[in-house]
């Protein structure tokens, strides 16, 4: 079997393996949400101001909320099998449309954050490890710890106060300038401009993790036998650090980045809220409080798939970084 075919087979296998997990997540959350008091109709009626019990019963029938629980679940699962995520009770739109709409901003924020956190974390970890126990090392450690320990929303609000209000470098919130509705490259630039503050805020939290991981990993790898071998060969210290050690030290960082993706979708609720970033986290948050069952389940389902996909990508990256790992 060719290398490529093996990869494909591996990907398919992993996706198949993910199915039970994703289904279990859906069922678990479905059941959990049944424990919650009130339903989407309560919220809609409450918001509308006033509604008769008859009207509410009618709405429940329309949403299928009057069916017995197992039937509701079975219907939902059946629909999911056919890639139909159902209708959002609240938004009166297909769930898939709503989610896809929010997918781009979420991915944008996620990728930017991971890139920044991992990239900068690797850099800082490297600098710290190379200057072990010097002031640089200490300064980086303290910086990393403080960024981790400062509550996210506080950082976010301070960013807005400093960079938007005082310095006027960046807009306070949103993903685009809604007064202008730019198009083409102007729009790309505009979105990038809006992306800066939320990305920095969110990545500051994760930065600490990668910095410390990278530092520890570098130190551990620097003590390995192959480093002695390389020295014994007369290889320069720079090459030892940047070629031999770095590549091995990256492995746990890559693994961690994969693990983080799941947390990132949910972890960005606060940042999305502070910066009015139209991501999935906020959508899920609102869906939960409006008991928009279909929408919430859809988000869980999709983010689970996203995590699975990202983990797959991480595995493939990992296997190219580490020849010992066979993708099979």
């Amino acid at each position: 079997m060719s290398h490529f075919a093996r990869r494909i087979r591996y990907v398919v296998k992993r996706l198949l393996q993910a199915i039970p997990i994703v289904l279990a997540i859906v069922i678990l959350n479905f059941l959990l949400l049944q424990l919650a008091e009130g339903d989407a109709v309560d919220v809609l009626a409450g918001e509308a101001g006033s509604a008769t019990p008859e009207y509410m019963a009618e709405l429940r029938a329309k949403f299928g909320l009057d069916q017995p629980l197992p039937v509701q679940l079975a219907v939902y699962l059946k629909n999911v099998m056919f890639f139909d995520l159902g209708y959002s009770f609240r938004h009166e739109m297909p769930v898939s449309e709503l989610i896809l709409d929010r997918m781009m901003p979420t991915l944008l924020l996620m990728v930017a954050t991971i890139t920044l956190a991992v990239g900068f974390g690797i850099f800082l970890g490297l600098v710290a490890a190379m200057g072990l126990n010097t002031w640089r090392d200490t300064a980086i450690s303290i910086f990393a710890l403080i960024t981790y320990a400062t509550p996210l929303f506080w950082v976010g609000l301070m960013m807005i106060v400093v960079f938007s209000l005082n310095l006027r470098w960046f807009p306070t919130s949103g993903m685009e300038n809604f007064a202008m509705f730019y198009e083409g490259w102007d729009r790309v630039w505009d979105i990038a401009h809006h992306l800066v503050l939320p990305t920095i805020t969110l990545s500051l939290f994760y930065l600490a993790l990668y910095t410390r991981l990278m530092r520890a990993s570098m130190l551990e790898q620097a003590g390995q036998d192959y480093v002695t071998t390389a020295r014994a060969k007369g290889v320069t210290e720079n090459r030892i650090m940047f070629v031999h050690v770095l590549r091995n030290a990256l492995l746990p960082v890559v693994t961690m980045a994969g693990v983080q993706v799941g947390a990132l979708i949910g972890g960005s609720v606060i940042v999305e809220s502070v910066f009015a970033w139209p991501g999935l986290g906020m959508l899920a948050f609102e869906a939960l409080f409006s008991r928009d069952l279909n929408l919430l389940l859809g988000i869980f389902l999709l983010s689970a798939l996203l995590v699975v996909a990202v983990n797959l990508v991480v595995d493939i990256i990992y296997s190219t970084l580490d020849p010992r790992i066979e993708v099979s």
Partner: protein
């Protein structure tokens, strides 16, 4: 003043309003970005009175009337109206040449359909506002005749674009009105046309070039933005990214700060149709709150000024009756009632409790209860925390409960599983519309939100409310409601806390936005940007 005369006076005002020509200073064009908080579930203002819908929909739909800041009727889709001698027939003369955004003409059939098939059927308050309407005749395309079972003077206050939007018959007839696409892509006759709704980000409306008011609107485009975090909303306002925020979009504390900042202003205008009142509901069917003495004692022990000063930062008026002082001009409000303390009267409250035999136990506790907090913002949590402290002064030990919206709604209005609940109600321009629902026995409707969840029932009061609703004479009405207020002050089924004053914070570049009694729920057709 007889009804007819009153109508004539109204007609006169109509003429004046029509004659008003835009002054030269007004500039056309520009994009106006304002805060819509929270994101509305839909734009179906004919289905829901949800606040955020009100911020957007009246700019798309028109009503038969608009109202100026003194609640005078201003003609909109109806150019004039006449009320018959017996008050049972109201004839509206509709404006000619008005078209829907899709080009179809607006006719009396639309009015008939809207009121009879939509508002009376699916609107939350419509069945109440139009309950006396038995049929609508359409002798021609521009005349709509409302036939009433009884006189309904309050109906004429409920014809704004926010309260009773006129919707297109040709798009709704024959469909399931509750699941029509119109909810997310509205078509109206208003100043602005719906263009796009990006979920989680904004709603965009563009100028209606064929608007029936010549030369209006000035603004080219309106964008309603959704920003979930209050502090960020303030920052966006300061940064000039948004220019207008109403209904508490900017927290009072920040509004107070912005009020003193160059380029920003704060107004309490534009809420007279809403007339909101903060209050505490009790479960009057269960101990300890089945005893009116404890309810009155609580009312006495609350420092209403403290609440207003420290939580709402000075915006609000201590409640002095079950009716808001905003009803004073119509004579319905009665002053000087007992049991409404502006400053806490702890001694009085304790004396009242002692007299009623509600005495403290060894720990000084007279009663314990759970206080539910309305999940509509931080201010209400602060109010709850204050209540807990204030009540401990008179030996009532409170535990606070804060649940999310659906849980809370179900607990209060479906399960009646509560003891004490902080809430606020819109009293609206007439007590029949906003106050009756709180106290009437017929308003004990399990499963219906924002009605009589205290389950207070008093036949005397019911009779008074019924006659008050139909009484045409202003003086008689005032008498009836005076009695109502006396009874409520004595029984105190609900402790009214204070008359809320919502704030609108705006960038001073925005001009002429507060031309309507509806304020933020208004059409914004005459607003312009001085840039």
């Amino acid at each position: 003043m007889s009804l007819r005369n009153w109508a004539a006076a109204a007609l006169c005002t109509l003429g004046l309003a029509l004659g008003a020509v835009p002054a030269d200073a007004q500039k056309a064009g520009g994009t106006f970005v304002y805060l819509v908080q929270p994101e509305p579930p839909s734009l179906a203002s004919y289905l829901s009175t949800s606040g955020p819908i009100g911020l957007v929909a009246p700019k798309i739909y028109d009503g038969l009337f608009d109202y100026d800041n003194d609640l005078n009727i201003v003609p909109a889709l109806a150019e004039s109206y006449e009320v018959s001698e017996d008050g049972k027939t109201v004839t509206f003369n509709l404006r000619q040449g008005v078209t829907w955004h899709d080009g179809a003409p607006f006719t009396s059939a639309d009015v008939q359909f809207t009121v009879m098939s939509v508002l009376k059927e699916v609107h939350p308050r419509g069945p109440n506002s139009f309950r006396e309407v038995t049929s609508i005749d359409t002798p021609d395309d521009h005349t709509a005749v409302f036939n009433l079972a009884n006189p309904a003077p309050y109906m004429l206050r409920a014809l704004s674009a926010y309260e009773s939007p006129m919707v297109p018959k040709h798009l709704l007839e024959g469909t399931d009105i509750r699941s029509s696409d119109l909810a997310t892509s509205p078509v109206g006759t208003g100043a602005y046309k719906f263009v796009e709704w990006k979920k989680g980000q904004y709603i965009r409306l563009d100028k209606n070039e064929n608007y029936w008011k010549p030369g209006l609107p000035y603004i080219e485009r309106i964008v309603g933005r959704f920003i979930p975090d209050a502090s960020t909303r303030t920052a966006a306002m300061e940064n000039g990214e948004v220019m207008y925020g109403a209904y508490g979009a900017i927290p009072n504390i920040d509004a107070v700060r912005l009020r003193d900042t160059d380029g920003f202003s704060v107004t309490t205008d534009g809420y007279s149709m809403i007339n909101p009142m903060a209050l505490i509901e009790f479960n009057t069917t269960k101990a300890p709150f089945d005893n009116s003495a404890i309810r009155k004692a609580i009312s006495l022990a609350i420092d209403r000024e403290f609440l207003i000063e420290n939580i709402w930062f000075g915006y609000g008026k201590p409640a002095t009756s079950a009716l808001s002082t905003n009803f004073a001009p119509t004579g319905l409000y009665k002053a000087g009632l007992p049991n409404y303390a502006a400053k806490a009267d702890v001694a009085g409250a304790i004396a009242m409790l002692d007299a009623a035999g509600i005495t403290p136990d060894a720990n000084g506790i007279r009663a314990t209860a759970v206080l539910d907090l309305i999940p509509y913002g931080e201010d209400w949590r602060r109010a709850g925390e204050y209540m807990k402290q204030a009540m401990s002064e008179i030996g009532i030990s409170l535990e606070l409960r804060y649940e999310d919206v659906p849980t809370w709604l179900k607990r209060i209005y479906a399960d009646y599983d509560f003891e004490m609940n902080i809430n606020y109600f819109y009293q609206l321009p007439d007590p029949v519309l906003g106050v009756h629902r709180h106290y009437g026995t017929d308003q004990i409707r399990q499963g219906t939100h924002f009605v009589n969840s205290s389950r207070y029932s008093n036949p005397t009061l019911d009779a008074l409310l019924a006659s008050g609703a139909q009484e045409a004479s202003a003086t008689k009405r005032a008498e009836i409601y005076g009695e109502v207020q006396d009874i409520l002050a004595e029984d105190m089924p609900v402790v009214n806390l204070f008359e809320m004053q919502f704030l609108t914070v705006y960038n001073e570049k925005l001009k002429d936005h507060a031309t309507s009694a509806l304020g933020a729920y208004g059409p914004f057709d005459r607003a312009w940007l001085d840039e």
